[in-house]
C-alpha cells in the first residue's frame, strides 16, 4: 500500500462527510428527506460490505440483523415506553448478541452453504416476526408516532420527526459507520480479513485463527446493520415485517455491487444511485424494475467491480 494512502483516505472521507453535512443546507425538501433515508440505508450497506467486500462472505440474511435492531428498539418504545436512546442501546446490545450467535453457527459453513444458512436464518427471523404478532403486530407492523418521546439533551429537546434532526442523526450514523469501516480496513485486523477473502487457507497457514476473525467481521457487520435498523425505526417511525423480508437482504447486496464491493464509499454511492434510479424510473413506467434490472446487468458487465471499484482500478489505486 502507498504510504500516503491513509492520509489521502482520511482527507477523502472527511471531504465526503463535510460535503454530506453541507448538503442539507441546499437540498430542496424532498431530496433533504431522501438523503436522510439514503444515509441510514447506506450505513446498513456499509455493515454488509464489511462481510462481503472485505471478508468475502456473502450473506442473504442480513435483513435479520437490520430488523433485529429495528424491532428491539421499536418494541422497547412501543410496548415498554422507553425513550429513543435507551431503546437504541438495548437494540444495539441484542443485535451484537444475535450477530455473534448466528455467526457462531453459520460460520461452521462456507461458500454456497454459508449463503444458504444465512438465507434460512433470515427466513426464520421473518417468519418469527409474523408468528409473534402479539409483539410485532405481524405484517402490518406498528408506528412509533405517538409513543416516541423527543430526545432531551440538557435543556434542549429534539423531535425525531424534525427534518433537520433526522438529517443530522442520519449523517452522524453514517459518519460513525464510514469511519469505523475505514479504521477497520486500514488496521491489522482489516488486513487479515482481506487476506481471508483472498485466500483463507493461506491465512490459516500463516497462523491466524480465521474462524475468530470471520466471527468478528460478521458480528461487526450485523451490529452496524442492526444499528441502522434501530435508527431507521426512530427516525422514520415505522417498524414492519417488510424490513425482515428477503428483499431487504438482497437490497444491500445490490447497493454494494453497484457502488463497489470492497470499497468503503461504494455502499453510499450504490444506495444513492439505486434509490434515485427507482424514484425516477417509477415515474415513467410501471416496468421500472425491468429498467433498473437492465441497467444493473449492464453495469455488472461493464464495471464488474462496481463504480467505486472502477474508479479505484483506473484512477485512485489507494482508495480503501
Amino acid at each position: 500500500m502507498n504510504r500516503r494512502a491513509p492520509r489521502k483516505t482520511a482527507m477523502l472521507m472527511a471531504g465526503v462527510l463535510v460535503f454530506l453535512f453541507l448538503l442539507q443546507f441546499i437540498l430542496p425538501a424532498y431530496h433533504h428527506s431522501t438523503f436522510s433515508k439514503i444515509m441510514v440505508l447506506a450505513s446498513y450497506a456499509v455493515g454488509f460490505n464489511i462481510l462481503l467486500g472485505y471478508t468475502g462472505l456473502m450473506s442473504l440474511g442480513h435483513a435479520m440483523f437490520f430488523s433485529t435492531g429495528m424491532y428491539v428498539t421499536g418494541i422497547c418504545v412501543y410496548h415498554f415506553g422507553l425513550t429513543g436512546i435507551p431503546a437504541l442501546g438495548i437494540g444495539l446490545i441484542i443485535t451484537v448478541f444475535v450477530s455473534m450467535l448466528i455467526g457462531a453457527v453459520a460460520l461452521r459453513t462456507s461458500g454456497v452453504s454459508f449463503l444458504i444458512v444465512t438465507l434460512m436464518f433470515g427466513q426464520t427471523a421473518f417468519l418469527s416476526v409474523l408468528y409473534f404478532d402479539q409483539f410485532t403486530l405481524g405484517q402490518d407492523g406498528f408506528t412509533l408516532t405517538k409513543e416516541l418521546q423527543p430526545l432531551v439533551l440538557g435543556s434542549t429537546s429534539f423531535s425525531y420527526t424534525d427534518p433537520n434532526f433526522k438529517y443530522n442523526a442520519a449523517w452522524l450514523l453514517f459518519a460513525v459507520c464510514l469511519i469505523l469501516s475505514n479504521l477497520l480496513i486500514l488496521s491489522p485486523i482489516g488486513r487479515v480479513l482481506i487476506a481471508i477473502r483472498e485466500n483463507e487457507e493461506r491465512t490459516q497457514m500463516l497462523g491466524y485463527n480465521t474462524y475468530l476473525y470471520k466471527l468478528f467481521a460478521l458480528t461487526l457487520s450485523g451490529t452496524l446493520s442492526g444499528l441502522a435498523g434501530s435508527v431507521h425505526a426512530l427516525l422514520f417511525s415505522y417498524v414492519g415485517a417488510t424490513f425482515a423480508e428477503i428483499h431487504h437482504s438482497i437490497a444491500p447486496l445490490l447497493w454494494t455491487l453497484l457502488g463497489g464491493v470492497g470499497t468503503t464509499l461504494g455502499p453510499l454511492v450504490g444506495t444513492g444511485i439505486m434509490h434515485y434510479l427507482i424514484d425516477f424510473t417509477s415515474g415513467w413506467t410501471s416496468a421500472y424494475l425491468l429498467i433498473v434490472g437492465a441497467i444493473l446487468v449492464l453495469l455488472v458487465i461493464g464495471a464488474p467491480q462496481g463504480l467505486m471499484g472502477m474508479i479505484r482500478q483506473k484512477w485512485m489505486q489507494w482508495l480503501p
Binding site: 430542496p28 428527506s33 402490518d140 407492523g141 408516532t145 422514520f236 414492519g240 415485517a241 431487504h248 417509477s282
Partner: protein, 444 residues
Amino acid sequence: MTENEKKATPVQEEQKTELSRRSLFGATAAVAGAGVLASQLTDPIARTAYAAGSDAPIRIGFQVHRTGIGATYGKWYERTTNAAAKYINDLGGMGGRPVEIVAEDDGTDPKRGADVVEKFATQHKVDFVYGTLFSHVVMGSSPRAGELKIPYFVVSEGHHVASGKLNRYVFQPCITEVPSQIYAVSKWMFSNLGKKVAVIYPDYAFGYDHRDYSMEAAKKNGGTIAAQIPIPPTETSFTRYFTKIPRDTDVIYHVMVGPGVLTFVREMGEHFGSRRPEIFGFIDSLEGVDINSPGLDFLDGTYFWEAMPRYADGYPTAAEKVYRDAVGVNASGASKSDSKDVSTYSHMFGCWETMFAIREAVEQSGYRNKRDYPALIETMEGFTGFNEGIAHPQGPKVFNGKNHQCYGNQFISKVAGGKLNVVHRTSIEDGMYDSDVDYTKMSL
C-alpha cells in the same frame, strides 16, 4: 360560527342535536334512505362552475399499487380513480377547481409507500394523498403523512385507522373496515348457516383480524369457533389443514388470498366432496378472479361476503348503474373492453366514494390551499355520514369523526349458476361497535 359551519349539510345538522346512538343510526338511515330515493330520481350531486382565472387544479396524490402483490387491485383502483376524477371534473370539479390526479407506484411496499407520500408532499406538492389499499403500506406511510401534516385518505378496509394507531391526518371515509364487516356478516352466518364454525385464515395480519374478530362475533351471536386454522402465506398444498376441521363443524369460514386460492378451493372440494359443511368466504379471495374459472366448481352453493355486488343484478340502483358505466365494468363485473379482465368490485368503489368525500370536505370547508388543512380536517371530522347516490353508490355510510372510519352495509351472496347472487344485505347497525378512539384530541 364560521362561514363554513353555516353551510352544514343535513347529515351534519344531525350531529348538532344530542341523540342516542340508536336514534342517531335511525336518523342517519332515514337521511340515507331519502338520499337513495332522491338518487333514483335525479342526479343529486350539485354542479359547480369552474372558478375563472386564478384557480389552479386541486392535485391529489394517488398512491397506487401498480406493482407488487396489490397490482390487481391497483389496476382497478387507478381506473376507478381516473373515472371519478373525470366525473367530478365534468360536474365542475372540487370547489370550482378541476381535479388533477398525480399517481405514483408504491410497489405495494411500506418502505416505498413512505417515500411516495414524501414525494407527493414535497416534490409534487399535491393537496392531498389518497388511495392506499394494503394495510401494511398504510401503516408504513401514515407516520410520514402525519409528520408532513398532509391529509391522507386511505381505501384500505384495514382496522388501522379505527384502531387509533395512526394520526389525525389519516381518514378512511368510504370503505368499511374488516372488524365491522366480520360483525355484520357473522350475525347472518351464525343465524342461517350454523353455530359451529371453523376459521381458515392466512397466517399474517389480514388473517389475524379474521381470527380475532370472528371469535368476538361468535360470542355475540351464540356461536362457537370449533377450530382456527392458520395457513402460511407461502403454502401451496392445503389438504393437511382440512383434516384439522372437526367433523361436526357446521360452517367453514375461509379468507384465503393470493395465488394459492385456486388450489385451496380445488383441494377443499377433493377433501370434502358432496358431504361438505356450509362454506362462507370473503370475496377478497376471488377479487379479480372469474368465478367460472376452472377448479372453482366446488364453490357452487357456497356463500361470500361482498362489499358491493359484482354482478349488476345484485344491487340494481340507478346510482350503481352510473358508477358501473363510468368505471367501465360490464354486468358480470369484468371490464367492458375485456371480459377476462375481472374487476375488484368489492373494494374499488371505495376510491370513487372517497373522491366524492374529499370533494364534499373541500367544498364545505372552503379549502383553497394548505393553510386550510385544519378547517378541512375539522370539517371531515364533523361529518356523520354520507347519503347513498351517485357519489356513494355502494350505499349510505355512517361516519365516525372521532375514529375517522366509516361503516356501511355489506352483502352476502350465494354462488349459483356460475355467478354470485345476493341473498342478504346487512344493516349498518349490524357492523357497529363501541369505539373510544378519538383522533380529534390530537393537535393539528
